[in-house]
Amino acid sequence: MNLPDPNAFSLDINDPADAELIEYFLAELPDRIDSIEAAFSNDDYDALSRVAHQLKGAAPGFGFPTIGTEAGKLEQHIRSISDPAEGIDGLRSQVESLISLCSSYIKPV
Protein backbone atom coordinates (compact mmCIF):
# COMPACT_ATOMS: atom_id res chain seq x y z
CA MET A 1 0.00 0.00 0.00
CA ASN A 2 1.28 3.45 -0.93
CA LEU A 3 1.25 6.26 1.58
CA PRO A 4 0.12 9.81 0.88
CA ASP A 5 2.89 11.90 -0.61
CA PRO A 6 4.70 13.43 2.38
CA ASN A 7 5.73 16.35 0.21
CA ALA A 8 2.17 17.29 -0.62
CA PHE A 9 1.75 20.83 0.54
CA SER A 10 -0.67 21.82 3.29
CA LEU A 11 -0.82 18.33 4.75
CA ASP A 12 0.76 16.86 7.82
CA ILE A 13 0.14 13.18 8.43
CA ASN A 14 0.90 13.62 12.13
CA ASP A 15 -1.78 16.29 12.51
CA PRO A 16 -5.06 14.67 13.65
CA ALA A 17 -7.20 16.92 11.43
CA ASP A 18 -5.04 16.12 8.43
CA ALA A 19 -5.03 12.43 9.25
CA GLU A 20 -8.83 12.60 9.31
CA LEU A 21 -8.85 14.17 5.84
CA ILE A 22 -6.54 11.50 4.46
CA GLU A 23 -8.72 8.83 5.98
CA TYR A 24 -11.84 10.40 4.48
CA PHE A 25 -10.27 10.56 1.05
CA LEU A 26 -9.12 6.95 1.18
CA ALA A 27 -12.56 5.84 2.34
CA GLU A 28 -14.14 7.62 -0.62
CA LEU A 29 -11.72 6.25 -3.19
CA PRO A 30 -13.34 2.82 -3.78
CA ASP A 31 -16.62 4.57 -4.70
CA ARG A 32 -14.79 6.80 -7.15
CA ILE A 33 -13.06 3.82 -8.70
CA ASP A 34 -16.48 2.17 -9.12
CA SER A 35 -17.84 5.34 -10.75
CA ILE A 36 -14.91 5.47 -13.14
CA GLU A 37 -15.36 1.83 -14.09
CA ALA A 38 -19.11 2.18 -14.51
CA ALA A 39 -18.82 5.35 -16.58
CA PHE A 40 -16.18 3.80 -18.80
CA SER A 41 -18.10 0.58 -19.43
CA ASN A 42 -21.27 2.57 -20.19
CA ASP A 43 -19.38 4.88 -22.57
CA ASP A 44 -20.61 7.77 -20.39
CA TYR A 45 -17.78 10.16 -21.12
CA ASP A 46 -19.44 13.11 -19.41
CA ALA A 47 -19.62 11.22 -16.14
CA LEU A 48 -16.09 9.93 -16.60
CA SER A 49 -14.80 13.41 -17.23
CA ARG A 50 -16.65 14.71 -14.17
CA VAL A 51 -15.15 12.16 -11.78
CA ALA A 52 -11.70 12.74 -13.27
CA HIS A 53 -12.13 16.50 -12.90
CA GLN A 54 -13.18 16.24 -9.26
CA LEU A 55 -10.26 13.95 -8.44
CA LYS A 56 -7.87 16.27 -10.25
CA GLY A 57 -8.99 19.23 -8.15
CA ALA A 58 -9.38 17.45 -4.83
CA ALA A 59 -6.71 14.76 -4.57
CA PRO A 60 -3.73 17.12 -4.14
CA GLY A 61 -5.47 18.88 -1.26
CA PHE A 62 -5.86 15.56 0.52
CA GLY A 63 -2.20 14.69 0.06
CA PHE A 64 -2.42 12.70 -3.17
CA PRO A 65 -0.96 14.89 -5.91
CA THR A 66 -0.08 11.93 -8.13
CA ILE A 67 -3.73 10.90 -8.29
CA GLY A 68 -4.52 14.50 -9.19
CA THR A 69 -2.00 14.46 -12.03
CA GLU A 70 -3.23 11.12 -13.34
CA ALA A 71 -6.88 12.18 -13.16
CA GLY A 72 -5.93 15.40 -14.96
CA LYS A 73 -4.40 13.37 -17.79
CA LEU A 74 -7.58 11.32 -18.10
CA GLU A 75 -9.76 14.43 -18.16
CA GLN A 76 -7.50 15.99 -20.77
CA HIS A 77 -7.66 12.85 -22.84
CA ILE A 78 -11.47 12.77 -22.86
CA ARG A 79 -11.59 16.41 -23.85
CA SER A 80 -9.12 15.93 -26.69
CA ILE A 81 -10.92 13.08 -28.46
CA SER A 82 -13.71 14.05 -30.80
CA ASP A 83 -14.84 10.53 -31.62
CA PRO A 84 -14.63 8.40 -28.45
CA ALA A 85 -14.57 5.14 -30.43
CA GLU A 86 -11.42 6.34 -32.14
CA GLY A 87 -9.43 7.03 -29.00
CA ILE A 88 -10.86 4.16 -27.00
CA ASP A 89 -7.56 2.31 -26.63
CA GLY A 90 -5.70 5.30 -25.30
CA LEU A 91 -8.63 6.06 -23.05
CA ARG A 92 -8.72 2.51 -21.72
CA SER A 93 -5.07 2.66 -20.75
CA GLN A 94 -5.59 6.06 -19.07
CA VAL A 95 -8.52 4.69 -17.09
CA GLU A 96 -6.60 1.59 -16.10
CA SER A 97 -3.60 3.58 -15.03
CA LEU A 98 -5.71 5.89 -12.85
CA ILE A 99 -7.56 2.98 -11.28
CA SER A 100 -4.39 1.07 -10.52
CA LEU A 101 -2.84 4.16 -8.98
CA CYS A 102 -5.91 4.76 -6.80
CA SER A 103 -6.04 1.09 -5.84
CA SER A 104 -2.42 1.18 -4.74
CA TYR A 105 -3.42 3.53 -1.90
CA ILE A 106 -6.29 1.43 -0.67
CA LYS A 107 -5.71 -0.99 2.17
CA PRO A 108 -6.20 -4.58 1.08
CA VAL A 109 -9.32 -5.97 2.75
Binding site: L21, F25, E28, G57, A58
Partner: protein, 320 residues
Protein backbone atom coordinates in the same frame (compact mmCIF):
# COMPACT_ATOMS: atom_id res chain seq x y z
CA UNK B 1 -28.95 17.67 -4.31
CA UNK B 2 -29.06 18.26 -0.58
CA UNK B 3 -28.26 21.22 1.58
CA UNK B 4 -25.28 20.48 3.76
CA UNK B 5 -25.40 22.16 7.15
CA UNK B 6 -21.91 21.75 8.45
CA UNK B 7 -21.84 23.90 11.55
CA UNK B 8 -24.68 24.90 13.86
CA UNK B 9 -25.91 28.45 13.53
CA UNK B 10 -24.33 31.04 15.80
CA UNK B 11 -25.50 34.62 15.63
CA UNK B 12 -22.88 37.30 14.97
CA UNK B 13 -20.48 34.88 13.34
CA UNK B 14 -20.17 35.50 9.60
CA UNK B 15 -21.58 32.82 7.33
CA UNK B 16 -19.57 31.62 4.37
CA UNK B 17 -21.44 29.76 1.64
CA UNK B 18 -19.50 27.21 -0.39
CA UNK B 19 -21.00 26.33 -3.78
CA UNK B 20 -19.14 23.38 -5.27
CA UNK B 21 -20.32 20.15 -6.86
CA UNK B 22 -17.52 18.11 -5.32
CA UNK B 23 -18.04 16.62 -1.87
CA UNK B 24 -14.27 16.41 -1.59
CA UNK B 25 -14.02 20.17 -1.70
CA UNK B 26 -16.75 20.59 0.92
CA UNK B 27 -14.95 18.21 3.20
CA UNK B 28 -11.57 19.77 2.57
CA UNK B 29 -12.67 23.36 3.14
CA UNK B 30 -14.68 22.40 6.20
CA UNK B 31 -11.47 21.04 7.71
CA UNK B 32 -9.29 23.84 6.39
CA UNK B 33 -11.49 26.66 7.60
CA UNK B 34 -12.49 25.10 10.91
CA UNK B 35 -10.07 27.31 12.80
CA UNK B 36 -11.65 30.47 11.36
CA UNK B 37 -14.55 32.05 13.21
CA UNK B 38 -17.06 31.46 10.45
CA UNK B 39 -20.11 29.30 9.85
CA UNK B 40 -19.55 27.30 6.69
CA UNK B 41 -22.66 26.32 4.77
CA UNK B 42 -22.63 24.31 1.61
CA UNK B 43 -24.54 23.85 -1.64
CA UNK B 44 -23.63 21.28 -4.24
CA UNK B 45 -25.01 23.11 -7.24
CA UNK B 46 -25.49 26.67 -8.45
CA UNK B 47 -29.26 26.75 -8.22
CA UNK B 48 -29.37 25.61 -4.60
CA UNK B 49 -26.51 28.00 -3.82
CA UNK B 50 -28.44 30.97 -5.23
CA UNK B 51 -31.56 29.93 -3.32
CA UNK B 52 -29.63 29.69 -0.06
CA UNK B 53 -27.89 33.01 -0.69
CA UNK B 54 -31.24 34.74 -1.24
CA UNK B 55 -32.91 33.21 1.81
CA UNK B 56 -30.09 33.98 4.18
CA UNK B 57 -27.41 36.20 2.59
CA UNK B 58 -23.93 35.07 3.67
CA UNK B 59 -20.96 37.38 4.30
CA UNK B 60 -18.95 35.58 1.62
CA UNK B 61 -19.53 33.06 -1.15
CA UNK B 62 -16.87 30.61 -2.31
CA UNK B 63 -17.92 29.57 -5.79
CA UNK B 64 -16.55 26.75 -7.93
CA UNK B 65 -16.36 27.67 -11.61
CA UNK B 66 -16.52 24.24 -13.12
CA UNK B 67 -19.83 22.62 -12.19
CA UNK B 68 -22.26 20.57 -14.28
CA UNK B 69 -25.71 21.95 -15.19
CA UNK B 70 -25.22 25.56 -14.09
CA UNK B 71 -21.55 26.50 -14.14
CA UNK B 72 -19.85 29.02 -11.88
CA UNK B 73 -19.92 31.86 -14.40
CA UNK B 74 -23.67 31.52 -14.83
CA UNK B 75 -24.17 31.25 -11.07
CA UNK B 76 -22.01 34.33 -10.52
CA UNK B 77 -23.92 36.29 -13.15
CA UNK B 78 -27.23 35.47 -11.48
CA UNK B 79 -25.92 36.31 -8.00
CA UNK B 80 -24.73 39.68 -9.26
CA UNK B 81 -27.99 40.44 -11.07
CA UNK B 82 -30.19 39.86 -8.04
CA UNK B 83 -30.37 42.89 -5.73
CA UNK B 84 -30.69 40.54 -2.74
CA UNK B 85 -27.32 38.90 -3.36
CA UNK B 86 -25.53 41.51 -5.47
CA UNK B 87 -23.43 42.93 -2.64
CA UNK B 88 -22.20 39.62 -1.22
CA UNK B 89 -18.52 39.21 -2.13
CA UNK B 90 -17.70 36.12 -4.16
CA UNK B 91 -14.34 34.34 -4.24
CA UNK B 92 -14.11 32.12 -7.29
CA UNK B 93 -12.49 28.70 -6.93
CA UNK B 94 -11.10 27.03 -9.99
CA UNK B 95 -8.82 24.25 -11.06
CA UNK B 96 -8.24 26.04 -14.31
CA UNK B 97 -5.49 28.53 -13.70
CA UNK B 98 -6.13 30.56 -16.82
CA UNK B 99 -6.01 34.34 -16.92
CA UNK B 100 -8.97 34.30 -19.27
CA UNK B 101 -11.14 32.68 -16.60
CA UNK B 102 -9.84 35.04 -13.95
CA UNK B 103 -10.60 38.09 -16.07
CA UNK B 104 -14.06 36.75 -16.92
CA UNK B 105 -14.79 36.09 -13.24
CA UNK B 106 -13.61 39.55 -12.18
CA UNK B 107 -15.65 41.11 -14.98
CA UNK B 108 -18.72 39.36 -13.64
CA UNK B 109 -18.07 40.82 -10.19
CA UNK B 110 -15.93 38.28 -8.34
CA UNK B 111 -13.85 39.89 -5.61
CA UNK B 112 -11.02 37.34 -5.64
CA UNK B 113 -9.81 34.13 -7.22
CA UNK B 114 -8.29 31.00 -5.66
CA UNK B 115 -6.94 28.11 -7.69
CA UNK B 116 -7.20 24.45 -6.80
CA UNK B 117 -5.48 22.65 -5.28
CA UNK B 118 -5.76 25.11 -2.41
CA UNK B 119 -2.79 26.55 -0.67
CA UNK B 120 -4.03 26.57 2.90
CA UNK B 121 -2.54 29.78 4.25
CA UNK B 122 -3.38 31.68 1.08
CA UNK B 123 -6.97 30.50 1.14
CA UNK B 124 -7.41 31.52 4.78
CA UNK B 125 -5.82 34.91 4.15
CA UNK B 126 -8.10 35.56 1.19
CA UNK B 127 -11.21 34.50 3.10
CA UNK B 128 -10.24 36.74 6.02
CA UNK B 129 -9.51 39.75 3.86
CA UNK B 130 -12.81 39.41 1.99
CA UNK B 131 -14.76 39.11 5.23
CA UNK B 132 -13.02 42.17 6.64
CA UNK B 133 -13.76 44.20 3.55
CA UNK B 134 -17.40 43.12 3.62
CA UNK B 135 -17.75 44.09 7.29
CA UNK B 136 -16.25 47.52 6.57
CA UNK B 137 -18.53 48.06 3.58
CA UNK B 138 -21.56 47.08 5.66
CA UNK B 139 -20.50 49.53 8.35
CA UNK B 140 -20.00 52.33 5.82
CA UNK B 141 -23.35 51.63 4.20
CA UNK B 142 -25.01 51.78 7.60
CA UNK B 143 -23.15 54.93 8.63
CA UNK B 144 -24.29 56.62 5.43
CA UNK B 145 -27.88 56.21 6.67
CA UNK B 146 -27.33 57.41 10.21
CA UNK B 147 -27.29 60.97 11.48
CA UNK B 148 -24.18 61.45 13.58
CA UNK B 149 -25.54 63.71 16.33
CA UNK B 150 -28.85 61.99 17.04
CA UNK B 151 -27.98 58.43 16.08
CA UNK B 152 -31.32 58.28 14.21
CA UNK B 153 -31.74 57.60 10.50
CA UNK B 154 -30.91 60.61 8.36
CA UNK B 155 -33.05 62.56 5.94
CA UNK B 156 -31.90 60.64 2.90
CA UNK B 157 -32.87 57.36 4.52
CA UNK B 158 -36.23 58.80 5.53
CA UNK B 159 -37.05 59.86 1.98
CA UNK B 160 -36.23 56.44 0.61
CA UNK B 161 -37.88 54.49 3.40
CA UNK B 162 -41.04 56.58 3.43
CA UNK B 163 -41.44 56.05 -0.30
CA UNK B 164 -41.20 52.27 0.26
CA UNK B 165 -43.66 52.29 3.17
CA UNK B 166 -45.98 54.52 1.16
CA UNK B 167 -45.94 52.14 -1.82
CA UNK B 168 -46.59 49.20 0.46
CA UNK B 169 -49.51 50.92 2.13
CA UNK B 170 -51.09 51.90 -1.18
CA UNK B 171 -50.61 48.36 -2.50
CA UNK B 172 -52.02 46.51 0.49
CA UNK B 173 -54.43 49.09 1.88
CA UNK B 174 -52.71 48.99 5.28
CA UNK B 175 -52.76 51.82 7.80
CA UNK B 176 -49.75 54.14 7.93
CA UNK B 177 -48.99 57.29 9.89
CA UNK B 178 -46.23 59.85 9.72
CA UNK B 179 -45.33 62.48 12.30
CA UNK B 180 -43.22 65.60 11.90
CA UNK B 181 -41.79 66.57 15.29
CA UNK B 182 -40.20 69.95 15.94
CA UNK B 183 -38.48 71.24 19.09
CA UNK B 184 -40.18 74.45 20.28
CA UNK B 185 -38.09 77.62 20.48
CA UNK B 186 -34.95 75.64 19.78
CA UNK B 187 -33.08 78.70 18.56
CA UNK B 188 -33.40 80.36 21.96
CA UNK B 189 -31.87 77.27 23.67
CA UNK B 190 -28.90 77.62 21.36
CA UNK B 191 -28.69 81.38 21.79
CA UNK B 192 -29.12 81.34 25.57
CA UNK B 193 -27.13 78.27 26.62
CA UNK B 194 -24.79 77.75 23.67
CA UNK B 195 -24.56 75.21 20.89
CA UNK B 196 -23.37 72.31 23.07
CA UNK B 197 -26.62 72.70 25.05
CA UNK B 198 -28.56 72.73 21.78
CA UNK B 199 -26.78 69.58 20.66
CA UNK B 200 -27.62 67.77 23.84
CA UNK B 201 -31.29 68.76 23.42
CA UNK B 202 -31.22 67.26 19.91
CA UNK B 203 -29.67 64.01 21.11
CA UNK B 204 -31.86 63.95 24.24
CA UNK B 205 -35.09 64.30 22.26
CA UNK B 206 -33.80 61.70 19.77
CA UNK B 207 -33.20 59.30 22.64
CA UNK B 208 -36.67 59.94 24.03
CA UNK B 209 -38.26 59.29 20.63
CA UNK B 210 -36.33 56.04 20.31
CA UNK B 211 -37.40 54.95 23.80
CA UNK B 212 -41.07 55.77 23.34
CA UNK B 213 -41.54 54.22 19.91
CA UNK B 214 -41.98 50.56 18.95
CA UNK B 215 -39.51 48.43 17.06
CA UNK B 216 -41.56 48.75 13.86
CA UNK B 217 -41.40 52.57 13.93
CA UNK B 218 -38.73 54.36 11.94
CA UNK B 219 -37.23 57.38 13.68
CA UNK B 220 -35.34 59.91 11.58
CA UNK B 221 -33.72 63.28 12.01
CA UNK B 222 -35.35 65.29 9.26
CA UNK B 223 -33.06 68.28 9.60
CA UNK B 224 -32.09 70.92 12.19
CA UNK B 225 -34.39 70.51 15.19
CA UNK B 226 -36.98 68.55 13.23
CA UNK B 227 -37.61 64.80 13.42
CA UNK B 228 -39.76 62.54 11.28
CA UNK B 229 -41.40 59.38 12.51
CA UNK B 230 -42.81 56.68 10.22
CA UNK B 231 -45.34 54.46 11.98
CA UNK B 232 -46.23 51.48 9.78
CA UNK B 233 -49.60 49.74 10.25
CA UNK B 234 -50.67 52.51 12.60
CA UNK B 235 -53.93 54.47 12.31
CA UNK B 236 -53.81 58.24 12.93
CA UNK B 237 -55.49 58.17 16.39
CA UNK B 238 -53.03 55.61 17.64
CA UNK B 239 -50.18 57.64 16.14
CA UNK B 240 -51.49 60.76 17.87
CA UNK B 241 -51.52 58.97 21.23
CA UNK B 242 -48.01 57.67 20.71
CA UNK B 243 -46.74 61.14 19.82
CA UNK B 244 -48.57 62.73 22.72
CA UNK B 245 -46.79 60.34 25.06
CA UNK B 246 -43.48 61.56 23.64
CA UNK B 247 -44.66 65.17 24.00
CA UNK B 248 -45.69 64.67 27.66
CA UNK B 249 -42.42 62.94 28.58
CA UNK B 250 -40.39 65.58 26.79
CA UNK B 251 -41.72 68.49 28.84
CA UNK B 252 -40.84 66.59 32.03
CA UNK B 253 -37.17 66.11 31.19
CA UNK B 254 -34.77 68.08 33.38
CA UNK B 255 -31.81 69.20 31.30
CA UNK B 256 -28.49 69.27 33.12
CA UNK B 257 -27.26 72.33 31.21
CA UNK B 258 -30.46 74.34 31.85
CA UNK B 259 -32.45 72.69 34.68
CA UNK B 260 -34.96 75.51 34.96
CA UNK B 261 -35.70 75.65 31.26
CA UNK B 262 -37.87 72.77 30.00
CA UNK B 263 -37.99 71.81 26.35
CA UNK B 264 -41.25 71.08 24.55
CA UNK B 265 -42.10 69.72 21.14
CA UNK B 266 -44.87 70.27 18.62
CA UNK B 267 -46.05 67.45 16.39
CA UNK B 268 -48.02 67.19 13.15
CA UNK B 269 -49.48 63.74 12.40
CA UNK B 270 -51.07 62.53 9.18
CA UNK B 271 -52.30 58.98 8.83
CA UNK B 272 -54.20 56.61 6.62
CA UNK B 273 -56.79 54.17 7.94
CA UNK B 274 -56.67 50.45 7.42
CA UNK B 275 -58.42 49.49 4.19
CA UNK B 276 -58.65 53.09 2.99
CA UNK B 277 -57.88 53.62 -0.66
CA UNK B 278 -56.89 57.03 -1.81
CA UNK B 279 -54.76 58.53 -4.52
CA UNK B 280 -52.02 60.67 -3.04
CA UNK B 281 -48.24 61.08 -3.14
CA UNK B 282 -45.49 60.83 -0.53
CA UNK B 283 -44.79 64.54 -1.05
CA UNK B 284 -48.43 65.50 -0.39
CA UNK B 285 -48.36 63.37 2.76
CA UNK B 286 -45.30 65.17 4.15
CA UNK B 287 -46.78 68.56 3.23
CA UNK B 288 -49.97 67.69 5.12
CA UNK B 289 -47.93 66.64 8.18
CA UNK B 290 -46.00 69.91 7.95
CA UNK B 291 -49.29 71.86 7.85
CA UNK B 292 -50.46 70.07 11.02
CA UNK B 293 -47.13 70.86 12.66
CA UNK B 294 -47.51 74.51 11.69
CA UNK B 295 -51.03 74.46 13.11
CA UNK B 296 -49.78 72.97 16.39
CA UNK B 297 -47.19 75.76 16.60
CA UNK B 298 -49.78 78.46 15.82
CA UNK B 299 -52.12 77.13 18.52
CA UNK B 300 -49.56 77.50 21.30
CA UNK B 301 -46.93 74.74 20.76
CA UNK B 302 -46.35 71.74 23.06
CA UNK B 303 -49.13 69.83 21.34
CA UNK B 304 -49.96 67.21 18.72
CA UNK B 305 -52.27 67.95 15.79
CA UNK B 306 -53.50 64.95 13.79
CA UNK B 307 -55.60 64.50 10.65
CA UNK B 308 -56.35 61.71 8.21
CA UNK B 309 -54.66 61.80 4.82
CA UNK B 310 -58.08 62.59 3.32
CA UNK B 311 -58.32 65.66 5.58
CA UNK B 312 -60.56 64.06 8.25
CA UNK B 313 -60.07 65.77 11.57
CA UNK B 314 -58.60 63.41 14.14
CA UNK B 315 -57.85 65.73 16.98
CA UNK B 316 -55.45 67.71 19.02
CA UNK B 317 -53.58 66.45 22.09
CA UNK B 318 -51.91 68.73 24.59
CA UNK B 319 -51.06 69.08 28.25
CA UNK B 320 -53.78 69.24 30.86
Amino acid sequence: MTEVQIHPDTSGTPTVLLIDDSQFVHRLLDARLRSESIILRGAEDGQLGIKMAIEDPPALILLDLDMPVMDGFETLRMLKEDPRTRDVPVIVLSGMNSSQDKVAAFDLGAIDFVTKPFELTELRARVRSSLKMYALLQMLAQKAQIDGLSGLYNRQYFDERFRNEFDRTIRHGQALSVAMIDIDHFKSVNDTYGHPAGDSVISGVAKLITQETRSIDICCRYGGEEFALIMPETEPEQAMQLCDRIRAKCEQITWSRHPTRPVTISVGVVGMFDGQSLSTTPEAWIEAADRNLYDAKQCGRNQVKATGIDGTSIGRAKAG
